[in-house]
Amino acid sequence: MVAARKENKVKEISIGVLKHIPVALWSIMVLVPLLMLIFISFKTNEEYSHTLPIMPPKSFLNFSNYKRTLIEGRILKSFVNSFILVISGSTLNVLISAMAAYCFNRFDFFLKKCLYSLFIMTAIIPGALLNVVIYKIMNIFGLTGTFGAPIILYAIPGMMQIWIYLQFLENIPVSLDESAMIDGASYFKIFTTIIFPLLLPATATVLITQSIFIYNDMFTQYLYCSATHLQTVTTALMAFSGQFATTFNVMASGCVAVMIPTLVMFLVLQKYIMSGLTIGAVKM
């Protein structure tokens, strides 16, 4: 009896250890490349060509590569542009999505289904395909060569954002609206003083995921932000890689610098980010 229990215990422990192997291996696959990248970014040219990539640099205070990428490579300047896109794009996106979702959740109206299926279309048709026509439309409005074009494209509400808001709206009882109506509040007032504040968790989620998306997005910025004064971190890095392709230690410092903002955001707001993705997908 005791022996059997002991055997069970041994079996349990060995399974417990075995479980670690695959996830630990993959964690190494994730972390080691990033560590090497950070190490290399602090190495001088001399050091880079004579030491193994996995060896830490002599000094973590050698910022000469960072000086080159951030200042000569204009990456420091491009952060400002990226933040302009992230902040205006995601804010507009949140406002428009919340208002649209409110209408879909609380009212019945002519063509409702039809309008709703428009939002589903955004999930099916790849935006990259439409860009030749979109580029011409942007041109007509005089928006190419400005931040107007990418900001408008990022403001368009997608299926995911509408879904997240609809999930939250369903959990806000209609009786709240009704009691406010008895007090004579207008629909607009109900939305701004009751509904929108209650949607705050959804707004945080959409804001964060949309910010990460915009910051990382390549194609729209590649099309509309390649001119020097419009360069975002993505396009600056692409331009920079052409100049400094041969010395990877310099390039590495650019990559590390560009990775930092979303990395910090992720470590601070981890819970929101993970739960946000989940709401958008699992509860469909």
């Binding site: 696959m29 193994l52 999505s97 209408c103 428009l118 395909l129 026509v133 390549m218 997908a281």
Partner: protein, 289 residues
């Protein structure tokens, strides 16, 4: 003001911007794209001719298109494997173990990192002369791998970058799906003497089938849209070995001004995505009955 009148004004104000944006930047471009796909427009000059379905005939007779599609298929297969690994990891990390949060955080991490910076990081890892992988191969006395210059390998090198990036994302979705399964089901089945494989087949799998469905659609349609890594790292090369469907379309209109043809390919791509979604629905619905 009466609530009926208010409602009308509110709906107009709140829906005007989203609907206007979608009409202008989604519906109208789609309509134009279908229209141009029947013409020989070059994307620049005002005059063009209607040429019927000949663009579409060209689409299916172009050898490069099949090379591109084959590359998309590689992405799809890699995406499929990614989902299996993600489910495996999710099942592990959903059980009680030390360091769960750490593993979850680390494995999810690549998803938030800048796509372009990540791609350049891989271009270093894959480097023929100085890349750590090939340094290791040489130290082990093996042939170094030509990750980017071997036309048989290049697409796998690129697809792996997307695997590395998305694995944690899928895993997180599966973990939360697993958490929504009622633990009492497992207890009850233990009492009935079910083994772990049976538990997975009859409890876990049905519990996460909706997420699997969504993930497979995302993996498939995502694989048809793959082009980021090709644009940043290989420009479709060596030769045309890392062309993907979308890269080919972008190339056709931006480099060759072959707009009508690019439009025909775009329409075909959207149709393929819709058909895949439909087939998947059918297969999975049938599987459930």
């Amino acid at each position: 003001m009466s609530y009926a009148a208010q409602k009308r004004i509110l709906l107009f104000c709140f829906l005007f911007f989203p609907v206007a944006l979608l009409l202008l930047f989604l519906v109208w471009p789609t309509v134009r794209m279908v229209y141009y796909s029947f013409t020989n427009w070059d994307g620049v000059l005002p005059e063009f001719k209607f040429i019927g379905i000949s663009n579409y005939i060209r689409v299916f007779n172009e050898p490069l298109l099949w090379i591109s599609l084959k590359n998309n298929l590689v992405y799809a297969v890699v995406g499929f494997i990614q989902n299996i690994v993600a489910i495996f990891f999710a099942v592990i990390l959903n059980s009680r173990m030390r360091g769960r949060v750490f593993y979850k955080t680390v494995i999810f991490l690549p998803y938030v990192l800048n796509v372009t910076a990540t791609a350049y990081m891989f271009s270093f890892l894959y480097d023929y002369r100085e890349g750590p992988i090939n340094l290791m191969m040489r130290a082990l006395g093996r042939e170094p791998i030509k990750f980017f210059s071997d036309s048989d390998i290049v697409i796998y090198s690129l697809a792996f970058i997307s695997f590395w990036r998305w694995l944690g994302y899928s895993m997180i979705l599966y973990i939360s799906a697993l958490q929504s399964i009622d633990p009492e089901l497992y207890e009850a089945s233990s009492i009935d003497g079910a083994n772990s494989l049976q538990k997975f087949r009859f409890i876990t799998f049905p519990g996460i089938i909706r997420v699997i469905e969504l993930q497979l659609f995302l993996a498939l349609s995502g694989s048809l849209r793959a082009f980021t890594e090709s644009i940043i790292l290989t420009k479709g090369g060596p030769g045309k070995a890392s062309y993907t469907f979308l890269y080919y379309i972008i190339d056709a209109y931006s480099r060759y001004n072959d707009y009508g043809y690019a439009a025909a390919m775009s329409v075909s791509l959207v149709i393929i995505i819709i058909v895949i979604a439909g087939i998947q629905q059918l297969v999975i619905r049938r599987g459930e009955d």
